[in-house]
């Protein structure tokens, strides 16, 4: 069956579902009708889409941490701590890396080891192994909406269990959870897997249960130019809405330059709305999530707080609807609950202080928005052209052709030809365009920006500049100046 951006056939879906639910024992716990009833029993304040809507109306920026440990009771303790001591607005359940690769046996092993060692030997919560009841226990133990955050190319079983388990938001997408998270999995395959996930969400929606979906914006988190992540976000929005998703949070990972980051947040939903309308979809609820710097962090906690606070300030000034919070332990390891809560509190101090301040609209900001709009449209239009109007097909062909290209991605289905680098003021530009379908005006803009920096540093732009930029924030700067 060839991949198409078309709502999955009901019969096929239910057929496939039977197979999915047998991938691990806990699949047997899932009963769709019962799950709908359970989801409907949740109070409003535990439902992601409801709270997001409220925040959007009031112009708030919500803070959400990442967190997950191997065992249920420890995980609940962790989430409660982040809620009570951190003051989180939304809670996560971050899934471990074995589960993300569908290696449930190894995850089971990790659960065992964690019990033996008395500390979490998994880097997240193995929701599939723990099953539906454990998920509901989590949801029932806290007072905030809980989202599953992961990085799973094939998240069909995870979605079945998580949604039946009462989670009201599900991160990921067929591209954003493949290209940065896999090496050998073809894009056709993951887009198809995620059509299943989105269709499942669509089925819940048809029964009156709105599950929010959140494509993973930051991708590899390392110098990803806004147009790349925006293009992926819009494509995943189109794919999701086709399957019946009605509420979407689109993501973007901080690059570090205030104007570029604000412009990126401002253009994200604008572009999604534009292409949704263009392809004939009705209105859906769109919100934005801004990720505090996703690349290498400074090891020193004080410096890490600086990076965290700058992310919070940017999110607030750009008026993102949600911000994903880093912690002062970021460079070293999965944070303790204390470090995690501290990251939230530092963030919320900034969000509160900047709540009623906004970045004035200026020519410079407009110029950044214009360039992001032009670049993203160039990519998306070419993708649609390659796909002969079909965005699923276009995405696959676009990646093949390097029309979309994610820097530093592990996947061999990503061209890996573009090279990003910062300009003199720290905005992420392109040093090598690879096969991005940019006209000369856009190319000249990037070349001029990077040349200006090269001049200031008296060196020719090269891969060394890229490496310096990768290390820069970790070493206390934004732009990687020559050492």
């Amino acid at each position: 069956m060839e991949l198409r951006n078309r709502k999955l056939d009901a019969e096929d879906f239910w057929q496939e579902r039977k197979e999915v639910l047998t991938q691990w024992a806990s699949g047997a716990e899932v009963d769709f009708d019962e799950a709908v009833v359970y989801q409907k029993s949740l109070p409003k304040h535990k439902i992601f889409a409801e709270k997001l809507k409220l925040g959007k109306e009031q112009g708030l920026t919500f803070a959400q941490p990442r967190a997950g440990v191997a065992l249920v009771s420890e995980h609940i303790e962790l989430l409660r701590y982040l809620q009570d001591e951190g003051g989180a607005d939304f809670l996560p359940t971050t899934i471990d890396s074995y589960t993300r690769q569908n290696r449930y046996a190894e995850a089971q092993n990790g659960i065992g080891e964690s019990r033996t060692m008395g500390r979490s030997m998994l880097n997240g919560f193995p929701a599939v192994n723990h099953g539906v009841k454990a998920c509901r226990q989590i949801v029932e133990s806290v007072q905030l909406p809980v989202q599953v955050r992961h990085g799973t190319p094939d998240a069909r079983l995870l979605a079945e269990i998580a949604l039946a388990g009462g989670f009201t938001d599900f991160e990921g997408g067929g591209i954003s959870y493949n290209i940065p998270y896999a090496k050998e999995v073809p894009l056709e395959t993951t887009i198809r897997y995620w059509q299943y996930v989105d269709r499942l969400v669509g089925l819940y929606a048809e029964r009156g249960v709105v599950i929010n979906r959140e494509p993973f914006g930051p991708l590899t988190g390392t110098l990803v130019p806004p147009c790349i992540s925006h293009a992926v976000a819009v494509i995943e929005a189109l794919l999701a809405v086709e399957q019946g998703v009605t509420s979407l949070t689109l993501g973007y990972g901080q690059c570090g330059n205030l104007l570029q980051d604000a412009a990126a947040v401002h253009t994200l939903t604008q572009l999604a709305e534009e292409y949704l309308a263009k392809l004939g979809y009705g209105p859906v609820m769109l919100t934005t999530v801004f990720h505090q710097w996703m690349g290498g962090f400074p090891q020193d906690e004080a410096k890490a707080y600086g990076v965290i606070a700058w992310g919070a300030a940017t999110a607030a000034l750009a008026k993102a609807n949600k911000v994903i919070v880093k912690t002062p332990h970021e460079a070293l390891g999965i944070p303790t609950k204390e470090a995690n809560a501290a990251g939230i509190r530092a963030t919320k101090q900034l969000l509160n202080m900047l709540k009623d301040q906004r970045l004035p609209r200026t020519q410079e900001l407009q110029a950044e928005e214009d360039i992001i709009l032009a670049e993203t449209r160039a990519i998306l239009d070419k993708v649609l052209e390659l796909g002969e109007g079909d965005v699923a097909l276009g995405a696959v062909r676009g990646f093949q052709a390097g029309i979309i290209d994610v820097p530093f991605a592990p996947s061999r289905f990503n061209a890996g030809k573009i090279l990003p680098a910062r300009d003199h003021s720290g905005a992420v530009r392109m040093l090598d365009f690879g096969n991005l379908p940019f006209n000369n005006e856009i190319r000249d803009f990037h070349r001029a920006a990077i040349a200006e920096r090269g001049k200031a540093e008296s060196r020719d732009p090269s891969f060394q500049m890229v490496i310096d930029d990768i290390y820069a924030i970790g070493k206390g700067m934004l732009v990687g100046r020559p050492r």
Binding site: Q101, M121, N123, L332, G474
Partner: protein
Amino acid sequence: MDKPTLVLGVIGADVHAVGNRILDYAFSQAGFRVINIGVLACQEEFIDAAIETNAQAILVSSLYGHGEIDCRGLRQKCQESGIGSILLYVGGNLVIGKQDFQPVSDRFKAMGFDRVYPPGTMPEQPIADLRADLGL
């Protein structure tokens, strides 16, 4: 003389590709032949690549926290495969959470690694070490 050869990769279900890319570049620039098996590499892939290319060293990265589980038994498998004395280096964010490095280093040395690197290691250090260990 032929360039000294090393196998580079990120072990387990780990997809952190950025450091791997930089190590590849830095070791190549420093005159090594780098066989980069990339992310999501299992122990067998490291060993097969080392045997095939007659490598003098295996450099294992683990960033995502499962390093302890993933690295166990690698030295034994090397021995079983007839490359028991190959140099084994490991680095990254080897364990879960912020931990004192000394005990972590000790644990990995006990597993048979010759050198163990803390988070945030710059390439210069292992390049110098590898030169020393290979007597270059």
